[in-house]
C-alpha cells in the first residue's frame, strides 16, 4: 500500500514539474513564467524528499525559491515585458535555440546512458552514504574532505562575482544627504532645541 502511495506521489510531483517547466517556456506572460519556474523548483524539492535527500530539498527551497527566485521575480515584474516583445526574436534566434536544445538533449542522453545511472550497478566508491549516515552528514563528509578544494574554490568564485557586482553598481554621488548614525546618536536635546522667552510684540531679534 505504501509503495503505491509513494509511487502515485512521485508521478504527481513529476507530472507537475514537467508541466510547469513547459509552462515556463510557453507562458505568454513573463511573470507567469517566473511563477511556474518557482512551482517547478518547489515540486523538484518534493521529488528530492521522496528520494530521501531532505537536506538538498530544503536547501533548494531556501536558496532558490526563498531568495534567488524572489529577486528574479522582482526584476521581471519591474521590466514590464509585453507579449509582443517576448516573442520578437523567435524567428532570428530560433535556429540557434533549436541547436542548443539538441546539444543539451544529446549530452543528457549520453550522461544517463553511462554506468553511474544504471540501477543495478553498486554504489560508486566516491559515494560513502551508508545506512548509519543520513544525507546531511554524508553530504558534509564528502564536501569537507574529498571535494574540499573545489568547494572552497566555488565559494571564491561567488565572492569574486559578488565583489564584481558591487564595484559595477557602486557610484559615488555628490550632494546626497546621508545620515551619520554616530552623529545622530551623539546629538542631544540641547544641540537642537533652545527655549527662549519671547516678549509679545517684539519677537526674537
Amino acid at each position: 500500500m505504501e509503495e503505491i502511495i509513494t509511487g502515485l506521489t512521485f508521478y504527481l510531483f513529476a507530472a507537475v514539474t514537467i508541466a510547469s517547466a513547459i509552462m515556463v517556456v510557453g507562458s505568454r506572460n513573463a511573470v507567469h513564467s517566473v511563477l511556474f519556474l518557482i512551482l517547478a523548483f518547489f515540486t523538484c524539492s518534493a521529488l528530492f524528499v521522496l528520494r530521501g535527500a531532505e537536506f538538498v530539498a530544503m536547501i533548494l527551497v531556501i536558496v532558490y525559491v526563498g531568495a534567488v527566485a524572489v529577486l528574479f521575480l522582482f526584476v521581471v515584474m519591474m521590466l514590464h515585458v509585453g507579449e509582443n516583445r517576448l516573442f520578437q526574436g523567435v524567428r532570428r534566434f530560433g535556429v540557434v535555440g533549436v541547436l542548443v536544445g539538441l546539444a543539451v538533449a544529446a549530452e543528457l542522453i549520453i550522461v544517463i546512458s553511462t554506468r553511474a545511472f544504471r540501477q543495478d550497478t553498486p554504489a560508486v566508491a566516491s559515494n560513502p552514504t551508508t545506512a548509519d549516515l543520513n544525507v546531511t552528514e554524508a553530504l558534509g563528509q564528502i564536501l569537507y574532505t574529498d571535494y574540499f578544494l573545489l568547494f572552497q574554490m566555488s565559494g571564491l568564485v561567488l565572492l569574486v562575482a559578488m565583489i564584481g557586482a558591487i564595484t559595477l553598481t557602486l557610484r559615488q554621488r555628490d550632494g546626497v544627504k546621508k545620515q551619520s548614525i554616530p552623529q545622530q546618536i551623539e546629538r542631544k536635546r540641547e544641540d537642537a532645541v533652545a527655549l527662549r522667552k519671547v516678549e509679545s510684540g517684539k519677537g526674537i531679534g
Binding site: F55, I62, V70, Q179
Partner: protein
Amino acid sequence: MIDLFLTVVWPALKIVLTILAVIVPLILGVAYMTLAERKVIAAAQFRHGPNVVGPFGVLQPWADALKLMFKEVILPAGANKVVFFLAPMLTFALAMLAWAVMPITENFAIADINLGLLYLFAISSLGVYGIIMSGWASNSKYPFLGALRSAAQMVSYEVSMGLIIITVVITVGAGGFNLGNIVEAQRDLWFAVIHFPMFVVFFISALAETNRAPFDLPEGESELVAGYFLEYSSMQFALFFLGEYANILLMSAMTVTLFLGGYLSPVEVWFLGDVWMQPIWFMLKTSFIAFVFLWVRATVPRYRYDQLMRLGWKVFLPLSLFWVVLTSGIIVGFGL
C-alpha cells in the same frame, strides 16, 4: 473490508485528526490574536478597546469574520485574476503549513522530521510570495510599491535569521536540525541565556519578517495607504489579515522553540514539569512573545527604509556572523 479500513482509512483518519488537533486551536488563537492586538494597543493608549460584542468584547472576532464574509468581492480593473486570488490563499496556507513540525509536547509533533528547523525556515521564507504576488496582480501603484519594499525587507532579514539558526544548530550538536532535539538540549539552560544577543536579534528579525511595526513599511499607511493588500476586500482581505497573525504566532513559537525551551517548564517542581503541562507552557510562552509583538507596535515609531536596510545588513548580519564564529570557536576550542 475491515482490513481495508484498518490499513488505509484509519491511518489516514488519524493523520487528519492529528492535524485538526493542532490547526483548530491555532485558528482560534489567530482569531483571538486580532482581539488581543486591539485590546493591548488600547491598554497602552488608555482606551478600552472593543468591549461591546459579548463580555469584554470576546465575541468581536466572530462579528468581524461575519462582517467580512458578507462583503462584496472586488476585482480591480486590469488585475491578474488567478494570481490575485491565489496570493491570499498562499499567505494563509503557508502560515498554517509551517506548524506541521512544531513540537508541542516531548512526544507530539504532527511530523517529527530530522530537518524540522530547515523545513520551518524554508516555509517561512516562502511567505514573501503571497505579498509579491498580491502586489503585482493588483495592477495598482501602492500595492506594487508595498510588495517591492516587503520583498527586499524579508530577503534581507532572512540572512541573519539563517545565521542565528546555524548558531543554535551548532550549539545543539548532532541532530541539531530536529526541533525536538533543540528543545531537549535546553533542559538545563535555555538558549536565550547562552545566546542572549542572538535571542534579541532573532526577535527583531522576526518583527521584520512578519512586516510588523516598527518595520511595517510594506503597509505604511502614511505613504502607501495600506500597502500590498490595498485592493483586497471580503474574505481575501480576511485571509491576508489572518495570515499576518498566523505568521506572528508562528514566529513567536519559533522564538520559543529556539531560545525559550519550547514546551519545557521553567521550574521542575510538583506537577509543573509533567507532560500534560507541556502544551500549556508552550502556549504561555508563545503568547508572551506574541504579546511583545503587540507591545512593540504600541510603543515604537516606524523605521525609515534606509535605516531598516542599514540595521539588517550592517548591524545584524555582521553580529550574527561573528556569533556563529564565536560559538563554533568556543565549542571546538573547549571540546564541548
